[in-house]
Amino acid sequence: MAGHVHKYGDHVDTDVIIPARYLNTSDNAELAAHCMEDLDAEFITRVRPGDVIVAGVNFGCGSSREHAPIAIKECGVSCVIAKSFARIFYRNALNIGLPIVECAPLVDETEAGDEVEVDLAAGRARNLTKGTEYSFPPLVGPAAELVAAGGLVALVKARLPAG
């Protein structure tokens, strides 16, 4: 996957990713239409399929609302790369199949608009604009199983007794 970078700072909370005033719906497209609205009102007009969000520490802190990673995924973002993630957002992203990567050096050396390519399986990311390359550790344990299964719905579906 590859796309252009939208860059943000530390502690991007789920209230700015999808403000609660829009949580009176569970419609994915409706949620996506307001993605990042209170942090960057122009984001939704700039974002293109495949784009990458790059941010600082504690991305997705605050509310447990799964609406946040849903909104990000639904508006076409292919991956979120941050220095660290809040734990509920981290689980939610893995569960719904939104790729996320922790890679601090890339965050420090990447600017808005750069083109970034991510190979999750290989644990490698490249900033094509700057010609830099980074590696990140693979997922382990249940998180790796989740991604391999294609998300939590698929995982549970396979484990539940049929009918």
């Binding site: 403000p19 609660a20 949580l23 734990r87 689980r91 249940p142």
Partner: protein, 419 residues
């Protein structure tokens, strides 16, 4: 094996293991799975997608209408109906919509969560129940759906940070001030992926209400959970409510902590967290010239009867400042009734405050007190992020019920000492 922290013991118990260490992956049996009117609709959708037909145990699921209640618009009413229909279809024992209230005040008060339990909820403030010496943590709707189907959830056993508060609390200082102080010291990601275990004489001196407040905001430091020691106050609270057996755990003396913080609670003045992070905590005396448009007492953080008594004690015989909207939100129907019988509601109304039915409402900018651009509130809620209570150009200052009520009277942030 070396000693275990409280959280390690609770997770080992839930996973049916003799012991666990930080970094272990465990599958825990859940005592309760929670969702609300905002998170349940997605959980129900995912539950169906998983091919699940029945919940794992109709007595171990709690569905609570609280975020938009009473339903604020047609879309919210439709979301609540989705949850209500599911609760009826599955014959969910703990479905609460009327005679209900805010989930994290309601569940402990109804005796649904008990010491030793392992609980997940599709709401980040599910960590509140750690005050009962239980393991509880917030998850998203998909994890909630999987748990409703299977009764299980996987966890990575977190490292534990221990917070010891000794000394005698100053007047007007309580659980809210201690947790705002803590977050101010360690930052909003200071406990990321970690458990927060509290202890010390000042913690044992707190009533249960203050302990719930502290565990409620563990997530505001990035914590996986917060947990309080079990003592005679916990026992009195639980025994008045429990209808089943519970298990009491305590940390081992040789437990291995990632870090131990020790603070003199007697040196801490009432705390206020300035926008736009809960970690912007400072003494109330540093912020006392900040004018306010609104004061809110309520939320899962501070909507308990003890909180209302403190606010009423300050508002009694006084008036809310001209131009300030003071909104009081009892946490549950039972608390509302009790506050009415104790005369607190009359005190609030005589002071010029508004009293709302139980709801999360303004805390998340939903309804019942949303802010316009440029407006500023002091609130007993738990988050002051950009746009949290309304317009992205509004501001929220987090404080205790005492400081919020005193500020309502002064028309600016102030300490009750100033009145």
């Amino acid at each position: 094996m070396p000693g275990m922290t409280l959280t390690e013991k609770l997770l080992a118990h839930a996973a049916g293991r003799d012991g666990v260490r930080p970094g272990d992956f465990v599958t825990a049996k859940l005592s309760c799975v929670l969702a609300n009117d905002m998170t349940a609709p997605i959980a129900i959708r995912e539950f169906r997608k998983m091919g699940a037909e029945r919940v794992f145990d109709r007595t171990k699921i709690a569905l609570v209408a609280d975020h938009s209640t009473p339903n604020k618009d047609i879309l919210s009413a439709t979301q609540t109906k989705t949850m209500r229909d599911f609760a009826r279809e599955q014959d969910i024992l703990h479905y609460y919509e009327t005679e209900a209230g805010i989930e994290h005040i309601l569940l402990p008060d109804k005796g649904i969560v008990l010491p030793g339990d392992c609980v997940i909820g599709a709401d980040s403030h599910t960590c509140t129940y750690g005050a009962l010496t239980a393991f509880s943590t917030g998850v998203g709707s998909s994890d909630c759906a999987a748990a409703m189907a299977t009764g299980e959830c996987w966890f990575r056993v977190p490292e534990t940070l221990r917070f010891v508060f000794n000394g005698e609390l100053q007047p007007w200082v309580g659980g809210k001030d201690l947790i705002l102080f803590t977050i101010g010291q360690i930052g909003v990601d200071g406990a990321l992926y970690r458990a927060m275990e509290f202890g010390g004489s000042a913690i044992h001196a707190l009533e249960m209400a203050g302990r719930f407040t502290m565990c409620n905001m563990a997530i505001e430091a990035g914590g996986k959970n917060g947990v309080m020691p079990f003592d005679e106050k916990t026992k009195a609270y639980v025994d008045a409510r429990a209808t089943r057996e519970y298990t009491v755990f305590e940390p081992d003396a040789d437990a291995d902590y990632a870090h131990v913080y020790e603070w003199n609670a007697g040196a801490i003045e009432p705390q206020v967290s300035a926008p736009f992070l809960p970690s912007n905590a400072r003494g109330v005396s540093e912020l006392k010239d900040v004018a306010i448009d609104q004061a809110v007492v309520g939320a899962c953080t501070n909507g308990r009867i003890e909180d209302l008594r403190v606010a009423a004690g300050i508002l009694k015989g006084r008036k809310v400042a001209k131009g300030v909207r003071c909104i009081i939100i009892p946490g549950t129907h039972d608390i509302h009734l009790r506050a009415t019988r104790e005369g607190l509601v009359e005190t609030f109304l005589e002071a010029g405050a508004m009293v709302s039915t139980p709801t999360c409402g303004p805390c998340l900018g939903g309804h019942m007190g949303v802010l316009a651009a440029g407006e500023r509130a002091v609130a007993t809620t738990n988050r002051n992020f950009v746009g949290r209570m309304g317009h992205p150009e509004s501001e929220v200052y987090l404080a205790s019920p005492a400081v919020a009520a005193a500020s309502a009277v002064c028309g600016r942030i102030c300490s009750p000492e100033e009145l």
